[in-house]
């Protein structure tokens, strides 16, 4: 039956993701033409590695946005998870499994705290997460005095390097911790959202929470799960970042929230809830990375980077809103 395929491709062509893909392809072609460095294996791996942190957080935030909430406390959550986990590893020794277990535990617990305030006291999620961002970060700075940790366990500093292969002359590539974690985060989030009933309940709740309640959804449980998931992603991202930076810096993560929000919103997720896809988030992240990387490769001052990111978000959101208006007008006329 070829017909449904045509229909679903038609639907894809009208989707936000399709336009995003076209923009990215165009941008890549242009950048590849302007700078031979851009379309190299080296640059691709570098980009994946350096955007893993933002990407993993973006997947957590995607789930929160689909559920109809928002969370911006995740950078503070990540800072706390990173500092506590690696201090413990330095003091008592640890391995890969135990550091990730600790970081995930801390992230999940702080996420649950957000969920409890938001659901039990019915405070808007933006306000709760602004408050908890400051509280988590404030406590961290108070107890650590803002001191960096430079000495990490050797096995952690070395990282992992799997499936090594040669490409071109004397350069070898492989799957490092960052790329592995990013890939797993994408896979798990995609499975959660599209292949489990809980994921579909999250979409449903974000689309119409009153209706979800009437159907007997466990709204509180779903919200705890969603904010915990965000926290868990923050925990994982924090270790990925520390491994890349080869240090723990309590002050550098907070302030990166808007990059993450940018990637998810560029990917078509709606702040109103119920809308957003893993593919969209991947493309949003790609666009953000290509844009920021391209600006550097073109030799434009990196001070321009926020300007272009802002411009692209505005254009993309306006284009989507405009095409929706057009379609609505078309439906209304019929």
């Amino acid at each position: 039956m070829p017909k449904p395929h045509i229909a679903s491709f038609g639907r894809f062509r009208r989707s936000h993701e399709f336009w995003l893909l076209m923009v990215i392809l165009g941008l890549c072609a242009g950048l590849g033409f302007a700078n031979a460095q851009f379309l190299t294996m080296q640059n691709l791996f570098d980009l994946l590695t350096s955007y893993a942190f933002v990407g993993i957080l973006a997947l957590g935030l995607l789930v929160v946005l689909i559920a109809g909430g928002i969370d911006i406390s995740f950078t503070a959550t990540a800072s706390v998870a990173q500092y506590v986990t690696l201090s413990l590893a330095n003091a008592y020794g640890a391995n890969w499994i135990s550091v990730f277990a600790i970081a995930i535990g801390i992230g999940g617990a702080l996420g649950a705290l957000n969920a409890i305030f938001i659901q039990k006291l019915r405070i808007p999620s933006i306000i709760v997460s602004v408050a908890t961002l400051n509280i988590f970060y404030g406590l961290l700075i108070f107890f650590t005095g803002g001191k960096y940790i430079y000495s990490l366990p050797d096995w952690f500093a070395t990282g992992i390097f799997w499936f090594e292969f040669e490409w071109g002359k004397d350069s070898s590539y492989g799957v490092n911790l960052q790329i592995l974690a990013l890939a797993l985060a994408f896979l798990v989030t995609w499975l959660l959202l599209n292949r489990t009933n809980i994921g579909r309940q999250i979409y449903a709740m974000g689309g119409n929470s009153d209706a979800a309640q009437r159907l007997g959804f466990h709204i509180f449980g779903l919200n705890v799960l969603v904010y915990c998931y965000m926290g868990v992603m923050a925990g994982i991202a924090s270790l990925v970042q520390a491994q890349l930076a080869q240090s723990v810096a309590p002050t550098v993560l907070v302030g990166k929230e808007l990059d993450v929000v940018a990637a998810v919103v560029l990917g078509g997720a709606s702040l109103m809830g119920g809308v957003g896809t893993v593919l969209g988030t991947f493309l949003g992240l790609t666009l953000l990375a290509v844009l920021q990387n391209g600006i550097i490769l073109l030799g434009v001052s990196s001070y321009w980077s926020p300007f272009f990111v802002g411009l692209v978000i505005l254009i993309s959101v306006s284009a989507t809103a405009w095409s929706q208006q057009e379609r609505r007008a078309l439906v209304a006329r019929r």
Binding site: N197, R200, Q201, G206, D210, L215, G216, G274
Partner: protein, 494 residues
Amino acid sequence: MATFLEMSGISKRFGGVHALRDVDLTLEVGEVHCLVGENGSGKSTLIKIISGVEAAEPGGRIVISGKEYPKLNPVYSTHCGIQVIYQDLSLFPNLTVAENIAMAHHLGGLHSVNWVSMRATAKSTMAKIGVEFDPDAKVSELSIAGRQLVAICRALAADAKLLIMDEPTASLTRHEVNALIQLVSELKRAGICIVFVSHRLDEVLEIAERVTVLRDGAKVGTFAADTIDGRKLSQLMTGKSFEYHVQAPELAAGPVVLDVKGLGREGEYEDVSLQLRAGEVVGLTGLLGSGRTELALSLFGMKPPDRGTIVLDGHPIALRTNAEAIHRGIAYVSEDRLTLGLILNQSVAANVTLTVLERLAGAFGLIAARARQTHVARWVAELGIKVSNPANPVKTLSGGNQQRVVLAKWMATDPRVLILDSPTVGVDISAKDGIYEIIRRLARDGVAVLMISDEIPEVLYHSHRVLVMREGRLTTDVAAAATSEDALRQAVNA
């Protein structure tokens, strides 16, 4: 006929207020049963008790399919096949048709989603009632009537034996209502009991076999539909009797205020000519999409016409914005007062003064508190708005009182022309009468009123002259005394 549900001695109290008092209800398998009553009569509470959302007070008995449920909850009630389609439909606009219909697949503990069986369920359910939507289309892409069909499918997919529909026709066109009535009789033939809650009494009488009337939380009685008529029904609902007569056309003998010639707007309406006289109430009816709302919006400056002339008090005017229209004395009360006409969270006072802030401004453009208070007090008294304190938010008021606030807001601008779009939608019968009284008084004071409505009796009995629009053209312009309900119905649907 077998009995599906039997309730007796059902009472419910919220705080000190009796929402329901000793109500009995019996529903037979395969019957269409209408539930009518004014706002606050206890209809929604009764539905909530049937669906297990609210528990009845001790002493009541609920028997479903021969089994007694002392503590009914939503899980049991769903299990018994009781499904409610709420007025807002409770669908998920961001999900596909298939997911919405087969929502039950998503319940329960963590498990994987079977998209194939979900689509199959959706398709076979849709086939049962003869509709064919793309199962992968998003519900937000469907029309309101389409969404309603999806909601019905969802109830059927959940194996409904009793389908309760709360105001299902509120946002449907006449054509769509006919299709729904057709569908209801098919469902009835399949042995499903249907409880139909509606404000529109002519529909109730058309569809129901039995009608249960509630008033002030008590049951007035259950009647066979063929033993009562609309007048009797409204009397039972309100405890008062209303007799309406066609208005005498002599009342409408003022000078022409608004003279419209050859007005047209691409794709919406064309070649519309009409006159409104001071002191005249003109009713305008037509199907949804006939161009009536677009015409009204053009007269209010929100959809500027492409062709034709508008003359107000002898001066040709070109309206480009609604601010101009308001300035020239044209006021428009929109159909959807909840989202367009009122700021629900703000006080009655704030809403009433919204249109006249400039006039209330004193020195330095600041608003004098005393002038504001006097203004608010005057309009609250004049329109009889029932509010203990004008500082209370509008959302705490009943539908009829909210509509009075909207009217006060526009009447305060001293309009020459007042356009009312469906002024009594969602308003009780007794509150409706109050609104008609206000409209009559406005006309007596020399305002030209254009009243748009779906309900033919409303335009016939409360206007001096009736206009009918069909497919973008004004097809009928007749004195109310010279026509009848049947003639108008024909003109609208022909």
